[in-house]
Amino acid sequence: MYGFEALTFNVHGGYLEAIVRGYRSGLLTAADYNNLCQCESLEDIKMHLSATEYGPYLQNEPSPLHTTTIVEKCTLKLVDEYKQMLCQATEPLSTFLEYITYGHMIDNVVLIVTGTLHERDVQELLEKCHPLGMFDSIATLAVAQNMRELYRLVLVDTPLAPYFSECITSEDLDDMNIEIMRNTLYKAYLQDFYRFCQKLGGATSEIMSDILAFEADRRAVNITINSIGTELTRDDRRKLYSNFGLLYPYGHEELAISEDIDQVRGVMEKYPPYQSIFSKLSYGESQMLDKAFYEEEVKRLCLAFEQQFHYGVFFAYMRLREQEIRNLMWISECVAQNQKSRVHDSVVFIF
């Protein structure tokens, strides 16, 4: 029953909640970002990061450094922490933690399939896959010619199998079909994760429902904006929206027929939680929309730590680390390209 988690949560989840709260205290602060933003080179960034928890992962990297190397090593730290938590988790927390990685699994599947379509070497593609989304038979994806084969040969034995029912066709894989497959899989995954959290009940359900609903709404907006001026029809666009969230169903109907960013703004401003996001943007502009959405997401993720005895803290921590890695990537790119004046365009402070 909701409200009585304090009696039983710590039996199985107390240790790992303490661990994840400890990990959270290692996130970079505003002072760290100020130091990083003043770096003159990637070596300076490496030097500043050596004083943080990323130190051991970067210390042996030879010069010259690349931005992709910094991102890879920081991601390795996240992967190590995730694996440490997963190996100690019991049900249902272990299933919850696995759900967090399914998004990366979908990205990896699409990367392999797209790269194979473009006649790239499989080993090269595997090196670019996200480590959190790896599974045993991932390399076999390269032999599939259509989605039916993709499912039958490889994905039937993976956690993504249930999500394929909506997009199995015998059509050959091409760029449009792959894009629709990506978004259909992600939609099915989000809905499944949402149902799972609802079944868990209690504070986990309350907090995760809010975070996942925001994710679904953000996806709907991004799909709309990215499909403006493309060959994606309105019906196809509507089919890619999730069946939950604040915008479901009326907001989705209006977004499906939007043809420019101002119409999208008109739809979103009817919903009070999103008015503050779009009030930061000027008319016709969409460049800062990503940052505005990330800031809102970080706010909600930080709030998850204000309550105890729920699994939302694990999801929030993973997402906050990913945001931190995005920040480091952006700072590194601005420093490498000698564009430090633009560094605050996309950095989102977490604390």
Partner: protein, 191 residues
Amino acid sequence: MESSKNGRESNEEISEKDENILSFLDSMDTYLTLMDSLSSTLRQGWLELASARHSMGASRINSTLLDLKFHRASTTLQVNEQSAGPDRELPHFTLRKWASSNNPEKNFEEAKFGEDELLKIKSNSLRRRDTSQSSEIQARSPESVGTPVSVDDLAQRERSKSLSMFGTLVSPKLRASQVSFETGTVATLFI
């Protein structure tokens, strides 16, 4: 009489040399302005690409997704020598942008310039140092296809096609990056 004739000739020589020097300095100024503009455009393009990568994720924008299959170049530059009088040939540039991959003979944005015209366009539009992006070559004669609106639509379609290796639903930042590099290509032609 002879000395005044010699004086007039030397004045003419001096004035011709002055003109040559002025013309050279003019060209240098134009060249430096163009280089500045190109550098700024390319910096903008690279930053927009990084921004798109930040927005869409590293797995969606990386070099392993580039298409290794054979395909026609969508933008080509042809240089011909054309006669501009007795004992004089000038290079003539033809830039074809966004040629359809289905019908390569159909050029949706074509601009033809002789060297003299290029110099005139440069000196008129790029006299002042300007770090903003240089303007694209406008299609002077849309002789290849119907109305300008259809040219834009088809060019836009070809642009989307070339970005499809990163997916069909890409961020506006990636499209902006593409436009920046396209502008840089045109600026390179001027240089």
